[in-house]
Structure formats: structure tokens, C-alpha cells
């Protein structure tokens, strides 16, 4: 809140979106599509999920009507921002064989300037996790870097809904966003007074607000905003004890629960696809019939497939047990060794969108329990 806070009336959300568009941003935000709230390009505020919420449980999501006009009264849906920051599939280059040799053509770098509207605290942390991996590592991914650099981020503080599958409080990633945004909105729904407290997080954010009618925030506004966010924190539907989690998982590599979860796991890959930090990709060369045109394409890969570890004629993680263990260990243990942070931000997507409702918090609690029968150091 270093740069102060203001208040805008709900009607001026429209102005905010229009201003972003006028500044040349492609505004991506929440919208109702095919039974869920997804992220897609918004043409105006009319596309926002006004009056909608979601009901989430393990393996269960239902879009529900609210009895108010809340714009952001829902938890995160199946999409995350990696969809835009790490576009997939992405053509890295295309080459055509001409009569006089190989001519390499690179597709134009026409990355859109995105404005992300409605980025929750967990997802801000997910973006930060991706930053560490693809920006701060030994190799910088220019596709991500370009999009990330330009992206204008409008955060929405989590308020006005009960987060059933969320556990950001446990992961220290929310529900209150404190940094990493240009603007952060907290929606206040009071009878006859629908407004947003806007925290200014950057110079860019402050400049944009100059075009949006606003008034200074009063102490009462700020208090109401804090209360709304605090209420969300107390309503977390899930928790995960991260204290000593990494070591406990390492100590339980042969825990019988791995077999148990493997019986339920479909190895379908939904968890990794909805995870906002799962970044693994594969690169393949595609050729046409003539053999004269080839393109190299990058797309998200999934550690639950046999192809993921296919090396020297065989796959190396045959069983569902091996694949599920790899995923959970990476998210909650090896990721810490690799990148200095958990690979999980507690958004709960993998819990909701697992077709058979496998709950990472429940599994991790059992798997890290040293009292588990058969647990042994390996």
C-alpha cells in the first residue's frame, strides 16, 4: 500500500477497462463460459461475471447465481495466467526449404500487451514462482519475459465468497496480495454502495488511475476492505501443514499411501494442466508431407504421461504411483531444493478439477505423517 489507496465506484470499472484498452492493452479477465468462470479477452465490463459465483469441492464445480451484483465474488476457475504468459502451443520457428538451400523464417514477435484483470493473490505468487524459474534461472525464456514485462496487473483481493478448495493461508500466499500488482481492487458490497478500494502498486498504476474517476480512500473504506479479506482467510476450506513438509515427504517415499492414491489416480493430467505453476513443456518438430516445411512447436507437457519420461526406448515411470509421487514430491519438496520455494500456491485448482477429487492437502497430510505404517527412510 506504499503508494496509497483510492476508491472508485463500481460503475467506473468500465472506465478502468476502457482506459486499459485505450492504452493499447488486451484486457484479459474473468468471464462466464461453458459452465465456469474462465479467463478470456474482455471487450467491456459487460463480459464480467457479475452476480455469479462458484461452488467448489474436490472434483466438483458448479456455477451459481448470487443474490447480489458482485463482480468478483467467486474463487479461481480452471484457467490460470500461464495460459497467456506461456502460450501453448507456440511455434518457435518455421523453416522452409527453398531451391537454394534452407531459409529460416522466424514468426514475428507480436506478443500482445496484456492487462490481466482479476489476478488473485495465489496467482500473483504463481507468477512469481514462474519468474524464478524462467526469468531468474540459467536460461531466460524470451517468450515469457516479453509478455511478463509488458503485462499490466490488476489484482483482486479475495472477498465475498467462501473459498472451499483454497489453502493460500497455509502456503503463505494469500488471501491478501501485498505486492506485485499495478493496482489491487477490493470489492465492497454494501447496500446502495458498490465500490472498490484500489491500492496503487506502481507508477504505471497511478498513471492509469488518473483517467478513472476516484476519490481518496477513507479510514472506513480501508477498514471495510481489510475486514472483507480477513473474512475470506477465516473461511479457507483446506489447510496444509507446511512445517517440515519437505523432509517428511522425503522420509516417506515408500509410504503405503502412494499405492492407495495410485489406485484412484487416473493419470489424466488435469492437475498439472490447471496448476498455475506447472511449467513443463515439450518441443516437437512438425513436418509437412512434402518434407520442405518444418516447424518447431513448444507446448505444455504433463508428467502423468508415459511419453514424459520416454528415453532410450522406454518410459521410466511406469506406474501411476511413480507418476503421482513425482508430481507431489516436485510440488512440495524437490521444487524447494530446485527453486527455493514450493511449487504450490494453495489455489486449490488441482483439487477441484481432478475428475476423481484427489485432494493434495489430504494426500500430503497422510504422506508426510511419520506415523504412517510402513514409512521408512529410503
Amino acid at each position: 500500500m506504499a503508494r496509497g489507496s483510492v476508491v472508485i465506484e463500481s460503475a467506473h470499472l468500465r472506465t478502468l477497462i476502457l482506459t486499459l484498452q485505450r492504452e493499447g492493452y488486451q484486457v484479459i479477465g474473468p468471464t462466464v463460459r461453458d459452465g465456469s468462470i474462465v479467463y478470456a479477452e474482455l471487450s467491456s465490463d459487460g463480459d464480467l461475471p457479475v452476480g455469479w459465483t462458484d461452488e467448489q469441492e474436490a472434483g466438483h464445480y458448479r456455477l451459481r447465481r448470487r443474490d447480489d451484483q458482485a463482480v468478483f465474488g467467486y474463487a479461481v476457475g480452471p484457467h490460470s495466467w500461464k495460459r497467456f504468459l506461456l502460450p501453448s502451443p507456440f511455434v518457435l520457428w518455421r523453416a522452409r526449404r527453398t531451391a537454394d538451400g534452407v531459409l529460416e523464417e522466424t514468426p514475428p514477435a507480436d506478443a500482445p500487451r496484456y492487462a490481466f484483470l482479476g489476478v488473485r493473490s495465489c496467482d500473483l505468487h504463481a507468477i512469481r514462482v514462474l519468474d524464478r524459474i524462467v526469468l531468474a534461472g540459467t536460461a531466460v525464456d524470451p517468450i515469457y519475459a516479453h509478455r511478463r514485462e509488458q503485462a499490466f496487473i490488476v489484482t483482486v483481493q479475495c472477498a465475498n465468497f467462501a473459498p472451499r478448495t483454497c489453502f493460500c493461508v497455509s502456503m503463505g500466499t494469500g488471501p491478501r496480495a501485498t505486492a506485485g500488482y499495478d493496482l489491487a481492487l477490493t470489492e465492497l458490497l454494501e447496500p446502495g454502495a458498490h465500490r472498490f478500494v484500489v491500492e496503487i502498486g506502481s507508477e504505471r498504476g497511478a498513471n492509469l488511475l488518473a483517467h478513472v474517476p476516484h476519490r481518496p480512500a477513507r479510514a472506513a473504506d480501508l477498514r471495510a476492505a481489510e475486514q472483507a479479506i480477513a473474512r475470506t482467510a477465516t473461511q479457507m476450506g483446506r489447510r496444509l501443514d507446511t512445517n517440515g513438509l519437505k523432509a517428511a515427504l522425503y522420509a516417506n517415499l515408500e509410504h503405503p499411501r502412494w499405492n492407495d492414491v495410485a489406485e484412484r489416480c487416473l493419470t489424466c493430467g488435469n492437475c498439472t494442466m490447471v496448476c498455475p505453476t506447472c511449467f513443463c513443456f515439450s518441443v516437437e518438430d512438425r513436418t509437412d508431407l512434402s518434407g520442405n516445411v518444418t516447424e518447431r512447436v513448444r507446448q505444455f507437457d504433463v508428467c502423468f504421461t508415459t511419453a514424459f519420461t520416454y528415453t532410450a526406448g522406454t518410459s521410466h515411470r511406469h506406474s501411476a504411483r511413480a507418476r503421482y509421487r513425482q508430481w507431489v514430491l516436485h510440488k512440495l519438496a524437490t521444487w524447494v531444493d530446485q527453486f527455493g520455494t514450493f511449487g504450490c500456491v494453495g489455489c486449490g485448482r488441482c483439487i477441484t478439477w481432478c475428475p476423481v477429487g484427489i485432494d493434495i492437502t489430504e494426500e500430503a497430510a497422510v504422506l508426510s505423517s511419520r506415523r504412517g505404517a510402513g514409512a521408512e527412510d529410503t
Binding site: 461453458d34 472434483g59 458448479r62 493419470t267 494442466m273 507446448q299 508415459t306 511419453a307
Partner: protein, 284 residues
């Protein structure tokens, strides 16, 4: 580039609806390129002019359902350098493999006025039940992209890139909201092999399993969820799996209550393709 002689391509039909062959004909923009690269030697659906074997690449559509067809698939195998089974019928027996779960003599008696004229096998079986198959292209029908990829891979002497994972991954890639989680619609996507571009979920329908079992299908877990969480009656489970790939081992096992994980250890799509050497080694 020095141009090699064009490989001879043959397309064969067994018990089937012709949909797979039509997929090949549907490659409208690429047909000239295909004809340019291949010598289309035998393809009755496209031309009555045929050329004698041997053939470099044979695409086989349909299941084997009669004694004559058994003879014919053996003959085709003898005349084909590479033989590819194309579609649900040729790879899993097709919808007509529903007979595998019933009494064919009984069917004959009920359906035909003079059943004594009907010469048929007890079961509808995939080509691989009778002859070595170099590659299997799943789907009812396979997608145009998959057929083109197969032909391209053949020309380039590499393995076709036909994914074996679930439909779910493609749903998520396309940003399609899960119909099962968000609407409670039973969907075979998690146990079905991708290849259709997630066609049904895209239109808010559950997956019908047209491409058969994915590489490691856990039908037991999915069925438990269907019955215990989605409230689907046990008796409704079987019809879900009894369609185009009813006789694919992992789907057929549902009726018998066998865990699919135990029947699908050898996936047909891991059959070697480009390298005959590999197959010889496997056979040996």
C-alpha cells in the same frame, strides 16, 4: 533433391463403415501432395484402377469377421512391407465387436431368415489378432491430422507422433471447461486416448471413447466416481464402454470387473513402425 521412387500405397477395407477411408479422402487440400509422394496403387473407394502388389504401405480399415477375411488379411500382410491398422474396427474390432459379448448363432437365427447362408466368425477381431501389425492408428475415425502425420512419418522413416494420453490434456489445452467436474456429465475423457481434438466436451457432451483406451486407463477409479459421486447406476456403466471400442481390452474388462491397469500393459501403439529390425527383434 534426388527423388526416390514413390512408395506404393494400398488402402483395404474389411468389416467397417468406410469412415476411415473417407478421412483419407477428406484430406482435400493435401490429396495432390499425397498423390505426388505416393503411388496410390490400390484404393477402391477412390479409384477402380488397381495395381498389383507388393505394396510399401497398406492401410487396413475394418475388423476381421469372416473366414474369407482371415485369408485376405494374411494375403495383404504377405504383400505389404508396412501394414497399418486404421481406426477402431481394425484396432479393436469396432462397434460390431459387440457380438463378442453375445452368442453369434443366436444373432444369426434372430436376424436372418436363412441363417445357414451366413458364414461368420464368433468374434469381430482387430487385424493384429491374425497378422503382425506395424502400427495402429486409433479413432472412430482417426483424425485427418493423424492420417497425414502417419503418411508423413512413413515418408520420412520416423515414428508417427500420435499421442497416447488422455482426452483431458487436450480439453485443458483448448481451455474447455471439464463437463464432468462442472456439470456432472459422465465423461470417458480421462480413460480415453486423445486424437479427436476433444470434440464432444467442446460441445458440452461427455466423451464417448471413440479413440479407445488411453495408455494407462484407470476405469476402475473412474467408475467408482461415476457411481458414488455422480450417482450413475451400476447398470448404466456398461453401455458407456460398449461402443466403438467395446472389445478393446481395457474397456471390455469393465464388464468383467477387471482392473484395466492389468489388461492394458501392452499398448498396441507401441508396435514398431519404421523399423522392421525392431519387430524382428521383438518377435525373436
Amino acid at each position: 533433391m534426388p527423388r526416390r521412387a514413390r512408395p506404393k500405397l494400398a488402402v483395404w477395407k474389411f468389416a467397417s463403415c468406410d469412415g476411415c477411408q473417407l478421412t483419407l479422402l477428406d484430406c482435400e487440400d493435401e490429396l495432390l501432395a499425397i498423390a505426388d509422394r505416393f503411388h496410390i496403387a490400390y484404393f477402391l473407394e477412390a479409384s477402380s484402377a488397381t495395381v498389383r502388389g507388393p505394396y510399401d504401405l497398406s492401410l487396413v480399415e475394418g475388423s476381421i469377421t469372416t473366414p474369407e477375411e482371415v485369408e485376405r488379411i494374411h494375403a495383404i500382410r504377405r504383400h505389404s512391407r508396412v501394414l497399418v491398422a486404421m481406426g477402431a474396427c481394425a484396432t479393436a474390432g469396432g462397434i460390431q465387436a459387440l457380438r463378442n459379448f453375445a452368442d453369434v448363432a443366436e444373432f444369426k437365427r434372430i436376424v436372418y431368415a436363412s441363417p445357414e447362408y451366413i458364414r461368420t466368425l464368433e468374434r469381430s477381431l482387430p487385424a493384429s489378432a491374425f497378422v503382425p501389425v506395424d502400427y495402429e492408428l486409433p479413432g472412430c475415425p482417426p483424425s485427418k491430422e493423424a492420417v497425414l502425420e502417419l503418411l508423413t512419418a512413413f515418408l520420412q522413416g520416423r515414428k508417427p507422433r500420435i499421442p497416447q494420453h488422455s482426452v483431458c490434456i487436450d480439453c485443458k489445452r483448448h481451455g474447455i471447461t471439464c463437463v464432468m467436474v462442472a456439470e456432472g456429465t459422465p465423461c470417458l475423457g480421462p480413460v480415453t486416448r486423445t486424437g479427436c481434438g476433444a470434440l464432444c466436451p467442446r460441445y458440452r457432451r461427455g466423451c464417448y471413447g471413440c479413440f479407445g483406451p488411453m495408455e494407462t486407463p484407470n476405469t476402475t477409479s473412474l467408475n467408482t466416481w461415476f457411481t458414488q459421486q455422480l450417482g450413475i447406476q451400476e447398470t448404466r456403466l456398461l453401455p458407456l464402454y460398449r461402443s466403438f471400442n467395446a472389445a478393446a481390452p481395457a474397456f471390455a474388462a469393465v464388464a468383467l470387473g477387471i482392473s484395466a491397469a492389468h489388461v492394458n500393459e501392452r499398448s498396441g501403439n507401441e508396435l514398431p513402425f519404421a523399423s522392421k529390425v525392431e519387430r524382428a527383434r521383438d518377435d525373436g
